[in-house]
Amino acid sequence: MMKRDACLRILARHVRDEAVVATYQAAFDWMAIAPRDLNYVSIGAMGIASSHGLGLALGRPDRRVIVLDGDGSLLMNLGSLATIAAAAPRNFAHLVCVNGVYEANGSHPLPAGDRIDFAAIARGAGISNAGTIDTLAEFEAAMPEILRGEGPVFRALRVEAGEPSPQDYAFIHGAQTRRRFKTAFSAR
């Protein structure tokens, strides 16, 4: 089990020009830990972060796209794993923060949240490069695969909440944030 903020700090040390699509608690943490123009926040319609990331990855096959999903979010859109497997974007890495609860909505438990094997679900959907990461050392060691391995890459990250992050919806929803992302993402 990893503290989510410690986990994301490792990722923050390694990212360069990758687009990072983050949702809900992972988004709040990520925006505080690694503010950058290439951050894309998927909030407002829960569950579709992986689909936003797929669109970005298909549109810019020359750019790496990393999705920071949640377990509750992915459960709302499990079919996206089949869609991703079929589209097979080589530049796509899907990281799912697994904590077993709907943390943004009162930390109620997910149905079967204590026993779901998300990597098995991903493999079952056809994403062969799938696994689970339990420790920060494993996550650090997985960085080359997450950042450069042939996608689609799927990793379930077993995490718990770390230090609380500010929930600045106005910033992450802002039109200016979206414009900055578009400019950065479409740059050659």
């Binding site: 079919g79 589209a87 929803h173």
Partner: protein
């Protein structure tokens, strides 16, 4: 007398004219033979088969951020299932999601809002309530509305919904 239906190949030509290169789709019996099967064979399109329609809202949005134009092809039931994603991404985040929606069960020659079928009659009032632009493609000749509607959506960075009122004529059928 009821006019001829729209032609699938003319609709596809309009999509190409508007620069559409990606199609996210779930099969819909209204558009299956006239649009989805031909699109699936057309090398000018990258077809992304999806499992649920709100995936398509997000995929099209991501493609838009990459500077790529796309459509989401689905049935009205899928649109109804995707309303929150359309609200969040299309309406509130002002993204140009272009939807082609087969109106399954709509009676020929009847305006969508006047349909006896509830899943059809509520579509236009919902789009109007959301401020989402829409056009109905019902008869031969209506295809010409498509490219300008797509251009307007991208120019304004707003969603648009093209309602396919009856099955477009297919030049060849089957898979």
């Amino acid at each position: 007398m009821i006019a001829a239906p729209p032609a699938g190949d003319r609709i596809i030509a309009e999509l190409k004219k508007a620069g559409i290169g990606f199609v996210a789709a779930l099969p819909d019996i209204v558009t299956s033979d006239g649009l989805l099967w031909p699109i699936s064979r057309d090398p000018d399109f990258r077809l992304v088969r999806i499992c649920k329609e709100d995936e398509g809202i997000a995929i099209c949005t991501g493609l838009g951020f990459a500077g790529r134009r796309s459509i989401l092809l689905m049935q009205q039931t899928g649109l109804l299932d995707s309303i929150n994603a359309l609200r969040a991404v299309g309406v509130e985040y002002e993204q140009p999601v272009v939807m082609l929606v087969g109106l399954q069960g709509k009676e020929p020659g009847v305006a969508p809002a006047a349909s006896a079928k509830v899943s059809v009659s509520i579509v236009v009032p919902i789009l109007d309530a959301m401020g989402v632009a829409h056009r109905t493609i019902e008869n031969a000749g209506d295809e010409a509305l498509i490219a300008p509607a797509i251009e307007s959506a991208y120019a304004a960075s707003r969603p648009v919904c093209l309602l396919i009122g009856r099955p477009p004529a297919a030049t060849e059928t089957g898979r």
